[in-house]
């Protein structure tokens, strides 16, 4: 079932500090696929994800959301896109529960039982009410990742998801992403971890061209 692309980039170009970071980049992200953005350090992976997420506005080219220019309905785009960046978006002074609640608040109200289940799913059962600053870096990232277990946004943009996660966690997350793609979600990840998923698409940055 090849459906219409969710997000389409046409001739994306981004210049940063006098350097052409992205050039002639065109690709489309289709539901039901897992795409990995590849490239060495400094090749613009994070910048690309920030552009796609709508955080970085300093680009030229075209971005189409469901076939229409993204700027036309930004709210619907944001409602249907989940972005996890380098910085996990977790307040160290709040507990995992409070953090998760705050992150979901502007999107979809979810009751606390579901959130507790999500936290438990990331291995944080029992830590629900410990301030996040007392958690390890990996645990803090897991709080952010707990969102993936309740998220219903069709498009996921995940920057370096596996950072600070242990081997077992990595395997579980891999399975989650794969399953998400199988369900019809679209997942875009950047990672240096050697991700091996059948049917995975690639966007290679730095010298290479878009779309496998």
């Amino acid at each position: 079932m090849m459906s219409e692309p969710l997000l389409q980039a046409v001739d994306l170009e981004c210049e940063r500090d006098e350097r052409l970071l992205l050039q002639n980049l065109s690709f489309s992200i289709v539901p039901g696929t897992l795409t990995r953005v590849e490239g060495e350090n400094g090749s613009g992976k994070t910048t690309l994800l920030r552009i796609l997420a709508g955080l970085n506005d300093a680009w030229t080219g075209e971005l189409l959301w469901c076939g229409k220019p993204r700027a036309h309905d930004r709210e619907s785009f944001h409602r249907n896109t989940l972005y996890l960046g380098h910085r996990p978006g977790i307040k160290p002074l709040l507990t995992p529960m409070e953090n998760l609640r705050a992150l979901m608040a502007g999107r979809r109200p979810v009751n606390d039982d579901v959130l507790a289940q999500a936290l438990a799913g990331t291995g944080l059962a029992g830590y629900e009410n410990v301030p996040c600053r007392n958690l390890s870096a990996g645990q803090q990232r897991r709080v952010a990742l707990a969102r993936l277990l309740v998220a219903d946004e069709p498009l996921w943009l995940l920057d370096e998801v596996f950072t600070a996660i242990d081997a077992e966690g990595v395997k579980a997350i891999e399975a989650l992403l794969q399953q998400r793609a199988a369900e019809g979600g679209a997942v875009l990840v950047t990672t240096h971890h050697d991700l091996q998923v059948p049917g995975m698409r690639r966007i290679v940055l730095g010298g290479g061209r878009g779309n496998e």
Partner: protein, 247 residues
């Protein structure tokens, strides 16, 4: 119409036009300014109230005019930057902000010196001078912000937001400073406010204002050209232009 607008924003097009107009702007500006100043210094009649010190008006008023109109023109360019993302508008704001700062400083400095023979003191918290001082701060902020942001495009857009916020505030600042002035020192003798000014004073003033505007045009052109060179040096047309100019 749209095509014209687009062309207007093209640095290459501007570069050509500016190069053609600059000699005229420079010559006209220097001529008018010199005429206005010499007339004002040597030939205009003495003011019956302030004596000869009023001759400072021929540089004080043009500087103050420019200080204000440069800020307003920056605000117009800021709207263009934010709405149409026109390259030339960013270049304009960045190039002329220091010019605006200089004219604001000149207006303040000449005002202060004028104050000595008129009020007997270098500085009076007069409404106009105070408003000018705040304008100087606004210019300083714009330049400081521009310098602080490395990325050119972000700097241009951030400065545009700041300039717009400033321009919304200028009338409020002006009004509140006027009010504050009446509150603390009612009805002082104003420097430039004259009920009647004879023609012999108006004309040289008009000439020097016009001359200074032309010189400002020239300054804007050459500074924008420099800025365009810096930004566009990797483009083909700049390369061709520079290499052609060498021969």
């Amino acid at each position: 119409m749209w095509q014209f607008f687009h062309k207007l924003g093209s640095p290459k097009w501007f570069f050509g036009i500016a190069t053609r107009f600059m000699p005229w702007l420079l010559a006209g500006g220097l001529l008018l300014l010199a005429a206005g100043l010499i007339w004002g210094l040597a030939f205009a009649p003495k003011d019956y109230l302030q004596g000869n010190s009023y001759r400072i008006i021929f540089i004080h008023v043009p500087s103050a005019f420019l200080a204000q109109s440069i800020y307003i023109s920056m605000a117009v360019a800021a709207v263009v930057t934010l709405v149409w993302r026109m390259k030339l508008a960013d270049v304009f704001v960045k190039a002329i902000a220091p010019v605006g700062l200089l004219f604001t400083f000149l207006a303040l400095f000449t005002g202060a010196i004028w104050g000595k023979p008129t009020w007997g003191t270098w500085w009076v918290w007069d409404a106009r001078l105070t408003a000018m001082l705040i304008l100087l701060f606004l210019y300083g902020g714009v330049i400081a912000l521009d310098r602080a942001i490395n990325d050119e495009k972000s700097a241009a857009r951030a400065v545009a937001v700041l300039v717009l916020v400033g321009v919304v505030n200028i009338p409020i600042i002006k009004y509140s400073v006027d009010w504050w002035n009446t509150l603390h020192q009612p009805a002082t003798f104003k420097l430039t406010e004259k009920p009647t000014m004879p023609m012999e004073m108006w004309l040289p003033l008009l000439l020097s204002v016009l001359g200074l505007y032309l010189l400002f045009g020239w300054l804007a052109c050459i500074r924008m050209k420099t800025e365009i060179l810096v930004r566009e040096q990797r483009t083909r047309w700049v390369r061709e232009l520079v290499l052609a100019g060498r021969k």
